[in-house]
Every structure is written in structure tokens, then in C-alpha cells.
């Protein structure tokens, strides 16, 4: 198989395995993309090419699916992914102000990654922890009922 610009490393072997397992499952493209993103952290065009060829689906269609769904990203993310909930319950409790403060604190905008690759910010829609609104997450850690002034200390914790 043509591996484009991808290095023939452990990740690549894993990707091939994922494709092999799902090759004959009907409608498995989204599942394959989820797993591939788990392996690579994001879905650069090189990965999309391998998936397209492996599943026998036109690259245009793979690209169409990747760009349609919010969970798939073609840009690498930071080591710590900060995700601020902008669902309704969090919004009426002021999560937009949390987001403003995080952007200010890190000096980057939503969707971007800091230059050192440590932090990235994204806005998400409801993680279902509305009882703790406003909520944001840093990787798998959930922070609820926070105010903008709590932000610097929380970020400092990850900076260390």
C-alpha cells in the first residue's frame, strides 16, 4: 500500500490494522477515522489518503466526512486540550467569560494551539455535566462551577 508521506512506524502499522479490521464492515468510515485520530492525534491529509485507499473510498469523500464533523481535526492539538462548554446551561451561567479569560491567559484564540505545542483551546457543545455549569475540561479533567479568576491557577498547574 502507498503510505504517502507517513513514516512506516508503529502508528502506521496500527492504522493499517484498524483499516484491516473494518474493511468489510458496512459504513465503517467514521469508526476508522475515530480510531485513526486516536492514534495520530489528528487527521492530516496523509492519513486520510491511507484510509481512502484502504477502504476503497474516494479521498474526496473521506475529506468531506472529516471536515463535516466537529470531532475530527486536521490540525494538531496541544498536549493539554482545553475545551470550554458553550452549551445553553453553561452559557447562561457565564461560560463565555471563562473562555475569554482562557484565551487572554494563553494569548491564543479558539481552535489554535500555543507555539510550544502545550495548550490548545476549543469550544464544545454540552458535555452533559450541566449540574456543574459553567464547565470546561483539560484533557480528561473536568472543572465545574468555576469563575474567570480561577483560570490562572488552573492553567499554572498544567504549565509546571
Amino acid at each position: 500500500m502507498d503510505n504517502g508521506c507517513l513514516k512506516n512506524d508503529e502508528k502506521y502499522q496500527k492504522l493499517l490494522e484498524i483499516i484491516e479490521v473494518n474493511k468489510n464492515v458496512r459504513g465503517s468510515l467514521i469508526r476508522v477515522l475515530h480510531d485513526a485520530q486516536e492514534v495520530y492525534g489528528y487527521l492530516p491529509i496523509e492519513v486520510q489518503k491511507v484510509v481512502a485507499e484502504g477502504l476503497g473510498i474516494p479521498l474526496a469523500e473521506v475529506y468531506g466526512v472529516v471536515t463535516f464533523y466537529a470531532q475530527f481535526t486536521t490540525k494538531p492539538k496541544g498536549e493539554y486540550r482545553i475545551s470550554v462548554c458553550l452549551g445553553t446551561a453553561c452559557y447562561v451561567k457565564g461560560s463565555d467569560k471563562l473562555l475569554d479569560r482562557i484565551q487572554e491567559e494563553l494569548g491564543i484564540e479558539v481552535g489554535d494551539c500555543t507555539e510550544d505545542g502545550r495548550f490548545s483551546i476549543e469550544a464544545c457543545r454540552c458535555i452533559g455535566a450541566c449540574g456543574l455549569a459553567p464547565v470546561f475540561t483539560v484533557n480528561k479533567d473536568v472543572y465545574g462551577k468555576k469563575v474567570p479568576d480561577d483560570i490562572p491557577a488552573i492553567i499554572a498547574k498544567y504549565r509546571e
Binding site: I30, F72, G87, V92, K93, G128, A133
Partner: protein, 652 residues
């Protein structure tokens, strides 16, 4: 494959597992009525004398319930009680605001906001000495003050008293990762009954008679959906479950999947039997990792126990369930878009007809029901259509789960009979608005619904009443807003959501919602004119009548309903250039009350824009001249107001 006799055998052997929870299960498990000491001697459970149920739903997990469970294990070990007390990991109890929640049986004592430091107390006081730790009971301090505490109150919780839990009846009461607990309390009995005693037509008749309507939003009668799919002739049909709970602020389905996954699997198999399908798909949000994990475990267990698979209960009915993960697209909650997504494509809707009951997933006849709808099915089969019909109102039968959120004390999950008024939900169960603020509106139906103003708080909540007042049931998100919420800003918030989530296939939604958003943005920036309001109406009308799918057709609702009940706020933004709630930054003004200002100058020092300076005016009784804000320089950051100790600065 197992037989019904084997299922009953498993049930009998598993009852000791839940026997200590007699208080909540004795009406459903006849064996638990009366003396249970005999049961406690059976099986592996013989040494236990208490169960500690720890919520492991997303809400409590976020509040640290995993660490709490470890602490319980450690402390029980320390006192040598590990063999006497069982720790059970459950799904959501509903009172997420008070999490992490722990319930101790046999007393059914519910402890709230349990911290690591409280574990020692619960073990030494409650478990070892039988004394309930009162200070941790729900809202104990306030209730005691009002003299409301009775002996009976020490057990159970007021939060649940006005609720009627049907879809949630197992949530927070069983271990969702143990199929035997589910079987012990009547799990899979409905499937057994359907397969051995009923024809598919019987099943559909029960569903029709029960009056159950879809809990996902539109409220289409479930029995009719099944009837249409059964009437379609095909070798292959599909049963789908919509667990793509995209409505921001709603988490009913997540809680059912996390707390009681087998209920949904059982219902899907019943639906499969009714319409003649042998394959099911659950389309679940990837944002719900806990739900995905528990569903995966549940499917695996059901297969291992021979309940899902070939020739179920020795009949010729076979059924398998597959999980499909969404990838973050709100439009995939729409039925045709969901099916396109399950097929692995961009989740774009397609025109109907043909309806999914004729041509759905992989172009075969398909039914799609929502998680909560399914969670009602097994009980309707077991208890009968008449039982279900007697609950709720004539046209909206049964109960409905709501996710209470926003400016309300008891944020969390509640289930109430249809026809309960909004007032009862907000005040009696929800505990009212915190911080002494006034109730302004409740939003139901998410981005497709509308706002219900305070004047209509006595409206009964059912499908038809809500439509009448310009909102809709939706999936069950209920966001409460107080006087600090700007209704124009909220309408803009929902439109921003729709603009981002519009799949782009049809122009009315793709272009129309963006235009509406631009107008709202203009109004909140203080640049609106009266004609903009007319344009909003016109656009709303055009989008509603011409968009391809439900997402677009309902997208104007948040704007229309806020215009209907809060037009004065729109006018205030447009004509007076004021935001009455003080939310829209461009329209806000910070002003200093020159009579209250003592002239200390702290605000001027705090101001990052040098917008505050001394005036010539000295208020009577003060020594220094008062300060004033130059509005042309003000950034509206609020630093002045935060720092003022004399309450002289206000925001309008």
C-alpha cells in the same frame, strides 16, 4: 441461547444481590416483600449488611466520585468491613448539583456533596453505629431551620417526592455494569413475555393503546411508527436508537444509557420483534465516553448470557445490536441525517418521503426511536397500556424526563407526569431561583424550541400546550433564566448554534439562519433599526416553510418566541439603545452615583483605560469631589464597579 426458565433461574439467583435495596424494589420484586433475612443468606451476598451506592454518572464523576469510591474502599478495609459492606457503582441519581451523591441501603439515606473527608464519618457513624449522618442529607440545614424534618425525612429525599420515575426507574439504583442486577428486578421479562406470549401485532397494539409518543422532540406516536415499519415488506429491516443527544443543556438520554443500558437493549429487541427486524444500531455521541463504555459492556453481557443473539428464548427470533459513534454534528439528531451518518457519510438529511419506515438505513425499512422512548417500552409491556395511559394527560401519556439547568437551585434530572406545570417543576422540585433573583423565562426544546415567560409559568407541560405557546417539548432540556439574562442575546446564542450546525445542504437554512444571526448581532451591538425586526419575522417565515429538515424548519423558533413574549426588550435595544438585562456590552453603561461617591479615586486607579476622572462636584457630607466616567473611553470591563466599596457604581 437461554430459555425463559433459565432466565427465571438467573433472576432467582440474583435477587440476593439487590435484596438490601428492598425499600426501592419491593413493589417490583415480590420475593422482597416481607422478611428478607432468608434471601440474605443465599449466594455470594450472604455477608453483606449494607450497600453503599456511589453515583458514577458524568456529573458526579466530574465532582470526583471515582476518588470517593476508592476512599470508601480504603476506609472499609481499615475497619475490616470489606466483607460486610458492598460498594456499588451506579448511574445518575438526578441531583447533579449536589454531587457527588452516595446512597446507603438498607436505609435509603441519600448523602449529598460527599467529600473525601466525610467518608470516615459515614463509615463510623452510619455503617458501624446505625446513626444517619444528618449534616450530609440533602438540604438538611435549611429543612431543619424550617422545622420540616421528621423522622421519615431522614430517609429518602424531598427532591424525589414529587417525581414519578418511569424511564429513570432503575437509574441510580442498580449497577449498570452488572446484567444480573437488571435481571433480578424484572429485566428482560418484557422481552420474554413478548416472544413467548404475544404476536408482533399484539405488541404494536399495546404500544398504540398506551399512547406513548416519541420523547426525542416531535412527539410522533411510537406505535404508529412501528405499525408503518411492520407493514413495509422486506427481507431486511433495522431498528435504530437515537442517542445523539445534541441539544445543548440536555442529558436525559446520557443518564439513561449510563444508568440503565439494558433497558434500552431490551426495548430495541422488542421493537425488532414487532416490526420484523433482526439488527439494531445505537447511534451515540462520541462526547459521552461513559455511556459508550457502559453500552459496550451491556451488549457484551447480553450476548454472553444468550439474551441477544440467535433464537432468543428458544424462538426463531434473532437480534443483534451494534454501536455507532457520532462525531459531533447536531444535525445527526434528525432521523434521515442520522441514518446517513450510520452509513458512514456526511450526516446530511434527505427529503421525505420516502419515510424511513419504507426506505431508511441502507435503503431498508427502519424505525428510529429516542433513548427515553425505548426506556418506557419494557414497563408498558409488563404493566400494560392502561397503566401507562392513566399517567399524564389524555394526549400526552406517561411521564417525561427533564434536564433542569441554568439559574435554578437543583440542577439535575427530574421525571414528572405529563401535564405537571412549569411552576411545580421550577419551584417544588427545582427549588427555585438562587440568589433571590426573579424567574424570567424557561427555555425548552433547545435550538428548536422557545422561551416560556413568567406569565405562563402555570402552563401544563405536555406536547400540545407547549406548541400552543410557541415552544416545544424537545428532548427535555429545560433551562431556567433569571432577570440577568438578555432575551435578545439568548436568541442570538441559539442562532449562532444553528448557523454553526447547519449542514449546508439547503439554502434557506444555510443562508437564512446566517442572515437572521447577522441582524441579531447588529441589534445587540446597538446598531439595530425597527425595520430589522420586520426582517426577522419575514426571514423566519421563509425558513420555516422552506428548509429541508427539522433543524432548519425549527431554527427560527427561539427568535419568534422571544419576539412574542419579550418584544419590549428588542425595542429597548433598537430604539432606546439599552439592554435592560445589562448583558449586551455595546449597550451597557457604567455610571457613578455622584451622591454616593466619596471621591477616594480607587476606581480611577483600577481603570485600565484612564476613563475616570475627578469632577467639580462635592456631595453633601463628603470631603472630596466625586468621580465620573468618560463614556467615550470606557471599555466596559467592570473593574471600577468590582473595586468600589461604597456601591456608587452601577451598570445599566
Amino acid at each position: 441461547m437461554i430459555t425463559v426458565e433459565q432466565l427465571n433461574e438467573i433472576r432467582k439467583n440474583s435477587i440476593p444481590k439487590v435484596a438490601l435495596r428492598k425499600k426501592v424494589f419491593e413493589t417490583r420484586v415480590p420475593e422482597l416483600q416481607g422478611d428478607i433475612s432468608g434471601l440474605l443468606k443465599e449466594g455470594n451476598e450472604k455477608t453483606y449488611r449494607a450497600h453503599i451506592l456511589c453515583c458514577a454518572g458524568t456529573g458526579c464523576k466530574s465532582s470526583g466520585s471515582d476518588k470517593l469510591r476508592e476512599e470508601f474502599e480504603r476506609v472499609l478495609e481499615k475497619y475490616g468491613l470489606s466483607d460486610e459492606v458492598k460498594i456499588v457503582k451506579t448511574g445518575c441519581f438526578g441531583l447533579c448539583a449536589e454531587g457527588p451523591i452516595v446512597v446507603v441501603y438498607p436505609e435509603d439515606a441519600m448523602y449529598c456533596k460527599v467529600g473525601i473527608e466525610d467518608v470516615e464519618d459515614i463509615v463510623t457513624e452510619h455503617i458501624m453505629n446505625g446513626r444517619i449522618v444528618k449534616r450530609l442529607l440533602e438540604n438538611y440545614a435549611a429543612r431543619e431551620k424550617e422545622g420540616e424534618i421528621t423522622e421519615e425525612d431522614l430517609e429518602g429525599s424531598t427532591f424525589f417526592k414529587k417525581q414519578m420515575r418511569i424511564a429513570l426507574h432503575n437509574c441510580g439504583r442498580i449497577n449498570p455494569e452488572d446484567i444480573e442486577e437488571y435481571i433480578a428486578i424484572d429485566g428482560y421479562q418484557a422481552l420474554a413475555k413478548v416472544l413467548t406470549q404475544m404476536t408482533p401485532d399484539d405488541v404494536i397494539k399495546v404500544m398504540l393503546d398506551s399512547g406513548l409518543r416519541g420523547r426525542g422532540g416531535a412527539g410522533f406516536p411510537t406505535g404508529r411508527k412501528w405499525m408503518f415499519a411492520k407493514a413495509s415488506v422486506s427481507d431486511q429491516k433495522y431498528v435504530c436508537c437515537n442517542a445523539d443527544e445534541g441539544d445543548p443543556g440536555a442529558f436525559m438520554d446520557r443518564s439513561v444509557l449510563e444508568g440503565d443500558p439494558h433497558e434500552v437493549l431490551e426495548a430495541m429487541a422488542i421493537a425488532g420483534y414487532a416490526i420484523g427486524a433482526n439488527h439494531g444500531f445505537i447511534y451515540v455521541r462520541a462526547e459521552y465516553p461513559t455511556a459508550v463504555e457502559r453500552l459496550t459492556i451491556a451488549i457484551k453481557q447480553a450476548e454472553e448470557y444468550g439474551i441477544l443473539g440467535d433464537n432468543i428464548f428458544g424462538t426463531d427470533f434473532s437480534f443483534r445490536v451494534e454501536l455507532r459513534l457520532g462525531a459531533g454534528a447536531f444535525v445527526c439528531g434528525e432521523e434521515t441525517a442520522l441514518m446517513t451518518s450510520v452509513e458512514g457519510h456526511r450526516g446530511e438529511p434527505r427529503p421525505r418521503p420516502p419515510f424511513p419506515a419504507v426506505k431508511g438505513l441502507f435503503a431498508e425499512p427502519t424505525i428510529l426511536n429516542n433513548v427515553e422512548t425505548y426506556a418506557n417500552v419494557p414497563q408498558i409491556i409488563l404493566k400494560g397500556a392502561d397503566w401507562f395511559k392513566a399517567i399524564g394527560t389524555e394526549k400526552s401519556t406517561g411521564a417525561k424526563v427533564f434536564a433542569l439547568g441554568g439559574k435554578i437551585k437543583n440542577t439535575g434530572l427530574v421525571e414528572v407526569p405529563m401535564g405537571t406545570t412549569l411552576r411545580e417543576v421550577v419551584y417544588d422540585i427545582g427549588g427555585g431561583i438562587p440568589n433571590g433573583k426573579k424567574f424570567k423565562a424557561a427555555q425548552t426544546g433547545g435550538p428548536s424550541g422557545g422561551c416560556i415567560p413568567a406569565s405562563l409559568i402555570d402552563t401544563p407541560i405536555d406536547y400540545d400546550s407547549l406548541i400552543q405557546i410557541g415552544s416545544m417539548m424537545g428532548s427535555g432540556g429545560l433551562i431556567v433564566m433569571d432577570e440577568d439574562t438578555c432575551m435578545v442575546d439568548i436568541a442570538k446564542f441559539f442562532l449562532a448554534f444553528t448557523v454553526e450546525e447547519s449542514c449546508g445542504k439547503c439554502p434557506p437554512c444555510r443562508i437564512g439562519t446566517k442572515r437572521m444571526y447577522d441582524i441579531l448581532d447588529k441589534i445587540t451591538r446597538g446598531e439595530g433599526e425597527l425595520k430589522d425586526i420586520d426582517d426577522l419575522y419575514e426571514l423566519a417565515d421563509a425558513i420555516k416553510s422552506s428548509a429541508l429538515c427539522g433543524l432548519g424548519q425549527t431554527a427560527p423558533n427561539p427568535v419568534l418566541s422571544t419576539l412574542r413574549y419579550f418584544k419590549d426588550e428588542y425595542i429597548a435595544h433598537v430604539v432606546d439603545k439599552k439592554c435592560p438585562a445589562g448583558v449586551c456590552k455595546a449597550l451597557m453603561q457604567y455610571t457613578i452615583d455622584r451622591e454616593k461617591c466619596i471621591g477616594c479615586g480607587k476606581c480611577a486607579r483600577n481603570c485600565p483605560a484612564d476613563a475616570i476622572s475627578k469632577t467639580d462636584y462635592v456631595a453633601p457630607g463628603h470631603k472630596l469631589p466625586s468621580m465620573a466616567i468618560d463614556q467615550s473611553k470606557c471599555l466596559k470591563c467592570g473593574a471600577c464597579m468590582e473595586g468600589c466599596k461604597f456601591g456608587a457604581i452601577s451598570k445599566k
